[in-house]
Symmetry: C2
Subunit: 215 residues, 2 copies
């Protein structure tokens, strides 16, 4: 199965310098729709499931993807581990804040590694943005530098560890500077169009580009 | 040929909050050695050349790689364009601040795209961290959001544009937060060992990991 955990309750609080509370919810929903659309358009036979902290009917408006929604209000780590413990088949987990994802990225992720491997795609700052667990004993721990913990956890249960080297899956959107990546590389995504409509634009300075909001 | 431009004059000024001027030079040299070692250990038959703003004998101490050093004190854009204009064969250009690079990454880069294509690997914030020019008319412009300019520039000369999706080449090291990536994913690189010796370490907070310096 392909599982997309989604914090519907108070998403993307670190974007507060740029977006208000309601906007953060709408923007998070746009990113979720980008992820689900890419997963749906990739060639695979996995079920798709959203693991949400509360019901998300409005976030899925306009999404024509065959999926189930499971509501679990526990923190991310126990909620994902409950799914991993339940399944005998490989489980791919993709966070919902990866708007640069494409069907090709999903295919690369699902095709990486072999039997008994755990495939890890790192996020910025030590996070784990996506993984495929092909070993039944692998469990997650999203606290702290999760990438390193997941490497060690996979080795501890006897799984092989395979790194998937992808910028598109490394680009999780948490902080205002991350929005630059959408404006440069994802202007045709739902998240990119949402930002453009909200007046969030690139600002070019001497170093890396930053974002400004015109209102 | 494989070209590695290197600012030997005043490298990595944006790391000033963490490293002093002499340290920035030593750290930049460690990253250069990581890049050159990965390029040398990858399977290919290209010449390797460092394009430096001034002579760099000390930065290359301990590097056992067959390479040439060309000194050109002009800014990056005209210096690289002079090389592109001189060569009839494909030219791969890799910036010198990519310590997470591995021989496998280099092989992926060199194998991407076909005749008349330009292969682009994006950096964070709109930059271009690596490319392969297989079209003789392609030129660079590193000012501003260079990735977008390079996409458009390649199309304007009739080249195909191929994106190489790689986190390792996307991770250029310019700002203190970038050091996290080395500490998490590159502790065995020369740059990683240099940081450990200098007392730069991970600090785990609620969001992404950051760095602290113990002195």
């Amino acid at each position: 199965m392909i599982l997309v955990p989604y914090d519907a309750t108070e998403p993307k609080t670190r974007l507060a310098p740029v977006l208000g509370p309601g906007e953060r919810g709408a923007f998070a929903a746009a990113m979720l729709r980008d992820v689900l659309t890419a997963v749906d358009n990739a060639d695979h036979s996995h079920e798709i499931s959203v693991l949400a902290t509360e019901p998300i009917d409005s976030a899925l408006a306009g999404v024509d993807v065959d999926l189930t929604v499971d509501v679990d209000d526990r923190p991310l780590t126990p909620a994902v581990n409950a799914v991993l413990a339940d399944f005998d088949e490989p489980v791919a987990v993709l966070t919902a804040d990866l708007p640069l994802i494409t069907p090709a990225t999903v295919v690369r992720l699902l095709g990486a590694g072999g039997a008994d491997d755990v495939v890890l795609a790192a996020g910025r700052g030590g996070g784990t943005n996506a993984f495929v667990a092909r070993h039944g004993a692998f469990r997650v721990d999203y606290h702290g530098v999760s990438y390193r913990d997941h490497q060690e956890g996979a080795q501890a249960v006897g799984a092989g560890v395979v790194e998937l080297d992808t910028r598109r899956l490394a680009t999780d959107i948490d902080e205002p500077a991350d929005l630059v990546e959408i404006l440069v590389h994802g202007d045709q995504t739902r998240a990119g169009r949402w930002l453009a409509d909200a007046g969030v634009a690139l600002e070019i300075t001497d170093g890396r580009a930053t974002v400004v909001r015109d209102e």
